[in-house]
């Protein structure tokens, strides 16, 4: 198209400004001026560069004045652009809605199946309990306490809880957050309590591997993931297997969710804790009335203990 335009173009004609300059100059002089203007302007460009380098404030001021003058234009311009952008985003969301819907429908179906399974199991459970004259566990009492400090004290991985003066918290109570096991209360003051987290080096928690029902011990390492040790022969903890507490040693109730098995890089089975131990804010302290292995007191208490106290 430009070429088509070019064919119409005539160099002589284009060199002659239409509209005509008001001051009539002789043609050679005008040509000389035209030839001279470019070098002069290029020199001026270098001058502008130097000026911009020497007086940055001036450039900045001019720039801001220009920007101020242009801002209303951009403001008006931004509206249709924003409208187009919104429309595009809307269209994209609509397109994605189909796949999202399909996914949600699938998930819903799956959840419905699970719900059916759960209801069936619940009914079966109720029936069996009736037949066995099963005495259910009493619903444990609990109180919620705020975590006020991390670490400190004797243990590397422990948190301090603020509790009221008439609290009734005692040693050996079990702390859970909204997802799973956190640890156990080891020290109780008049307004505070300390909870030893399951990740502490000194923490030993009897657990059950839910898939194989095998007993094991959860051993803290001071790292984010405690290790699983002492599982019986013939059983290997499977990757992704759920780990729950075991009622052995009468320190924990059975079946509190702890985490899932995850093999470390070195091949040792570790537990990815359900509880978010690195950002605890509120924990619930459950009183299961258990008096298994309790942490040692500075003054010996007449409670049953093992020969080597663990907590």
């Amino acid at each position: 198209m430009a070429a088509a335009a070019a064919r119409h173009d005539d160099p002589n004609r284009a060199a002659r400004p239409d509209g005509g300059p008001v001051i009539r100059l002789s043609i050679p002089l005008r040509q000389a001026l035209a030839r001279l203007s470019l070098p002069v302007l290029i020199a001026a460009a270098f001058g502008t560069m130097l000026l911009g380098k020497a007086d940055t404030m001036l450039a900045e001021r001019v720039r801001m004045a220009l920007a101020d003058a242009l801002t209303p234009i951009y403001g008006v311009l931004a509206r249709p652009v924003a409208a187009v952008r919104d429309t595009v985003a809307e269209a994209r969301a609509l397109l994605e809605m189909r796949t999202e819907n399909a996914r949600l429908r699938d998930e819903n179906e799956q959840l419905r199946r699970w719900q059916a399974v759960a209801l069936a199991l619940e009914a079966e459970n109720a029936m069996m309990r009736r037949q066995l004259a099963f005495i259910p566990d009493p619903a444990p009492r609990f109180q919620t306490a705020r975590v006020v400090a991390d670490g400190g004290g004797t243990y590397a991985r422990a948190v301090l809880l603020a509790i009221g003066p008439e609290h009734g918290v005692r040693k050996g109570q079990i702390a859970l957050d909204e997802r799973g096991l956190v640890g156990r209360v080891t020290e109780v003051g008049s307004r505070s309590a300390r909870v030893l987290l399951a990740t502490d080096l000194n923490s030993r928690i009897p657990v059950t591997l839910e898939g194989s029902r095998a007993r094991a011990v959860l051993v803290g390492t001071n790292g984010a993931r405690p290790r699983v040790q002492y599982w019986p022969e013939g059983v290997t903890p499977a990757e992704g297997e759920r780990v729950v507490t075991s009622a052995e040693a009468n320190a924990f109730p059975a079946g509190l969710p702890v985490g899932v098995i995850h093999y470390s890089g070195s091949g040792a089975p570790e537990v990815e804790m359900f509880a978010r131990l690195d950002r605890l804010d509120l924990v619930r302290l459950f009183d299961y009335g258990l008096s298994g292995i309790l942490p040692p007191e500075s003054v010996a208490r007449p409670e049953p203990r093992e020969s080597r106290p663990r907590r």
Binding site: A45, G52, V81
Partner: protein
């Protein structure tokens, strides 16, 4: 075609307005495009990518309406809009204008493709010159990618811009031959 050599009639007000509008159109349109391209919604480097084709096109096809004296403020506008070091755009546009003027006899009657290829060469050279100037003025090595990006963008924009400007150019020719 045989329009030149025709004596100009004494211009009436309307005709004079018309002529003025025609004479100012290239520069005004370029400035407007640059201002629009500088809107904060577009990609960076768009101002440069828009200014260079306009200056190149008008310097090639209608240099009388894109004199160096108009290229200078356009370059200044570019530098102010693009927040780069002052003077780089001025120099680049002036040199582009000068080279396009020098080679216009060779280029102006070629096919569009040749002109476009020539423009790509101009854009690359201008990008390289800008990079060197930035390095010298800022005294550090600037990244190459944004410059290449702008060169590519301007080379890609040239056909559509040239089409638009070519239409305007034809319309001007018609108006002039009618006058």
């Amino acid at each position: 075609m045989s329009v030149h050599g025709k004596p100009e009639p004494a211009p009436g007000l309307l005709r004079r307005l018309d002529a003025t509008a025609r004479a100012t159109f290239p520069v005004a349109f370029t400035a407007l495009l640059m201002v629009l391209a500088a809107a904060p919604v577009g990609p960076p480097g768009l101002v440069w990518a828009v200014a260079l084709p306009c200056v190149f096109f008008w310097s090639l096809f209608r240099p009388a309406y894109m004199p160096p004296l108009a290229v200078f403020p356009l370059g200044l506008l570019h530098d102010l809009l693009s927040f780069g070091p002052l003077g780089i755009g001025v120099l680049i546009l002036l040199i582009t204008h000068g080279l396009a003027m020098r080679w216009r006899r060779a280029l102006v009657r070629r096919s569009f493709l040749v002109v476009w290829l020539a423009y790509c060469g101009f854009a690359l050279g201008a990008g390289g010159l800008g990079w060197v100037l930035q390095a010298v003025l800022g005294w550090r090595v600037p990244p190459i990618a944004p410059g290449l990006n702008a060169v590519g963008m301007s080379a890609g924009l040239y056909p559509s811009l040239a089409w638009l400007l070519g239409r305007a150019h034809l319309a001007m020719l018609h108006a002039e031959s009618a006058a």
